[in-house]
Symmetry: C2
Subunit: 296 residues, 2 copies
């Protein structure tokens, strides 16, 4: 029900020229152009505050927990003892927030290219950005591709929490970058990548995972549901030098950790790797097979 | 990329006043008002032909397989020997199509209230409606609520393939109807219900499953992803007099059946019942607990 006294403001994202997703807006909270992109935060009606980069919805308060829990807890509960994590992108702070909830984490290096995203989220998305002040977090405003090429540090987990592969994030989707990530990962390290839509982006996923093949012995895809991304069903890539995300996952560790989550749990973890046939078959050549499940 | 010579036609569905989903349209194929609702079929750009009832997207050719495989194969692979199935609604024919792919099915009774939906889909969605001519199908154009109250037949499976609980489908969401369904189900029968959005419709799901409680000893929810429904993550209800959809599911039967599916498989079946915490916790009082999973 719309009050007739309220102006009808909507923000609309168009995807591939065939589908549009619109959210009702109460007011604009932030709107500036950085060296890299247009950054907006709007207050919506019904979805909380919402971040958009170049007009593409990045997250909203209503369901950001889904994306951030799934990008962080899946690898952190597969790796038996993660201590050092590199986040490339993730300027809103939500991924860092979830990573830092794990007791064993000693250091998180977050390399975000665009200071304006961080500033906008600190001001208008505090429930997402609050972990940016954690003393275990080292925030670096610089190019993540260069950082991965040049750093001498080593990590148990690298998370590429990026926008779509156009504009500033494009160099995060190629073989040179993945080679550098493999170099800075420990021998049992894990790489998680934002891997776009399960319905709309197969032609992007094939070369993306093709570029990771040969570099990582295990290559998998897992699914989560995003309220504000076109089509709803979206993907993360799971690349590992050693661990299988299903066989090497110990659900008991989730209970022991005592981290209160709103989307993630052991059943969701297992289920996320069970790809529908239309996804699995089209990526059969670039992903590794995953073990089946049974009732406990 | 939009050709400048092409008119910009879009069809837009608004949900709860806060979100809109729009699809690019090439042309209208069917647009008439029945005694029950406005029925439209449009040819879209990118999503195939699309059915809308009262302006709400019902299905499109691009992803209708997800909905229809998940509403049909989940119960048909839990019940050990389903032979007689009642579909209430489902006028497009997609649910009947998937049910009839199971060799053991002897009869499907489909009770659709609106002949115009059937006619529109026969003409403009033949890949969905093609099973409507199967000799095992008895198509009845009448009120499903009255049919469930009055029939003397008994079924192994009842599928409520309905629109949202407003207009003609409203009486399908209440206790009297569920009692009648229980009456016409065999002692080991299963009821599947269209159960709306996992994100937007909790306040509808609580009374809906509340009304089923006490009538069915086992009450569960399972999830699937719909490309054209707001929020993407949608639900079916699984109510049973006897079977647990996880413990009593034998994945070997799926392989034996040899039915080629595009979304459904044993892993997807298990994963669909693994509810995210925000869903499970809010429905803890009305759903039964589900067993956990382990890697095979």
């Amino acid at each position: 029900m719309t009050k007739s006294t309220e102006p009808e403001l909507w923000i609309t994202e168009e995807h591939q020229g065939t589908v549009r997703l619109s959210f009702k807006v109460a007011q604009s909270l932030f709107s500036q152009k950085s060296s890299y992109q247009q950054v907006d935060v709007v207050e919506t009606r019904g979805h909380g505050n919402m971040l958009l980069n170049d007009g593409v919805v990045m997250l909203c308060e209503r369901d950001e927990f889904v994306y951030h829990e799934m990008i962080a807890h899946v690898p952190l509960f597969v790796h038996p003892s993660p201590r050092r994590v590199l986040i490339i992108g993730g300027g809103d702070g939500g991924t860092a927030r979830e990573v830092l909830r794990h007791q064993g984490i000693e250091q998180v290096v977050m390399v975000e290219i665009d200071a304006m995203v961080v500033d906008a989220c600190r001001r208008h998305l505090p429930s997402v950005s609050r972990a940016l002040d954690d003393p275990r977090l080292e925030l670096r405003i610089e190019d993540g591709v260069r950082y991965a090429a040049e750093t001498d540090r080593r990590f148990d987990l690298v998370i590429v929490d990026s926008t779509d592969p156009v504009g500033p994030a494009a160099p995060l989707f190629n073989r040179d970058f993945y080679r550098n990530v493999a170099r800075i990962l420990e021998d049992d390290g894990i790489l998680i990548t934002q891997a776009e839509s399960a319905h709309y982006d197969r032609e992007l996923q094939k070369p993306m995972f093709g570029d990771q093949r040969g570099i990582f012995p295990r290559l998998h895809l897992y699914l989560y549901s995003n309220l504000t991304y076109p089509g709803g069903l979206w993907c993360f890539g799971f690349a590992s030098k050693k661990y299988c995300p299903v066989k090497d996952f110990d659900p008991g560790r989730v209970d022991e950790a005592g981290i209160k989550t709103r989307y993630y749990n052991p059943g969701v973890h297992y289920g996320a790797f069970m790809l529908p046939n239309f996804v699995a078959e089209e990526l059969a050549g670039v992903l590794d097979p995953i073990p089946g499940l049974s009732a406990k």
